[in-house]
Amino acid sequence: MDFSIIKTGNDSKKKHYSAAIIGSGPAGLAAAIYLGRSKVETAVFEKVVPGGYVVNVEKIENYPGFAEGIAGEKLGSLYAKHAEKFGAKILTEEVIGLKLNDKPFLIETSSGAYSSDSIILATGTSTKKLGVPGEEEFTHKGISFCATCDAPFFEGENITVIGAGNSGVQESLYLSRFAKHITIVELLDHSTAEPILVDRLKEADKIDLLVSHCVVGFSGEKMLNSVEIKNITNGEIKKLEVKGAFIYAGEVPNNELIKDSLELDDRGFIVTDERLRTSVNGVFAAGDVRNTPLRQIATSVGDGAIAGHEAYKFLEGIK
């Protein structure tokens, strides 16, 4: 990591910020709103588009204020505009390195290098891969991790969705508009989705739920043709003949940047106290990437508010 090009001070191209937020999902942008209103010069780094994972969600129904639901893409865009209104600078640059052992903290991105007096990590989670044979080979050749992106490729086909949590059930309901039939494969003996989603699942005539099964492999020639599943109660293995598989079998924290510099829990989530402070003074964590009992948009927004407020207090303390 080469941080030698960092300059601080009043350069024409600003490279130093009082607060840097890594990730522009609900947590990151809520923190940016609070910091902006506290008149803190804030940069938000985002590698894809503002909104984070929310942008992938077709319709969000459990976020207060939107009883009829709101498209994730729309909500993400509203968050970004709100943060920018109060002065946050959203930079579409992937952060590829962080140096947290000295102040100011140093940030290397795909386009340059920056420094900051405080950092809020809001990097979220990624869909957990199954780690079974054929998964890599058939990714984007039948296997997908984004229903709203790739559903049109499975018009009239038999497909499977792996995982019957909130995401798996919600995305299955969306995919049923395209697919001929969907088999949801769930490791547990029941769905862990919200009861309202489970009711909808029961009413959906194109979707079956197969519990107590796990995926042991993906097969095909050039493209996916079948998924091997195992009954975990009797060990029986059988094949599902499907052209598509959407994987929603849990999440892993996006912790690559900080896994060697911050305290993590046994699953790799960032450990924080109730004020969202991490093990490094001046570095905060908010949203899905931290060890929290619930990962929802509403809880991420709450985290963002706390982290933004705490970062402001931290900065005031050192000024």
Binding site: V48, V55, E58, G72, T148, C149, A151, F153, M223
Partner: protein, 77 residues
């Protein structure tokens, strides 16, 4: 040479690819498979891909937002 970008309506990486190409002044033809389901079938048949974004130009194919590959193939510094 025409650059074709296959996208869908709610795909974050498709938005990122379009933003990147626009930032570098590169013209492209967008084909949205959500609006044109036949294009999804055509892409699947031609390339074996069941996901977007896919960027095609000449003999090159880039799947997803791969900034390094895009820079290299399009000669962007």
């Amino acid at each position: 040479m025409t650059i074709k970008v296959y996208t869908s309506s709610s795909c974050p990486y498709c938005m990122r690819v379009k933003k990147f190409l626009k930032e570098h002044g590169i013209k492209f033809k967008e084909i949205n498979v959500s609006r044109y389901p036949e294009a999804a079938k055509e892409l699947k048949r031609k390339t074996g891909q069941t996901g977007v974004p896919v960027i095609l130009f000449g003999n090159h194919k880039v799947v997803g937002f791969d900034e390094g590959k895009l820079r290299r193939f399009l000669n962007i510094r």
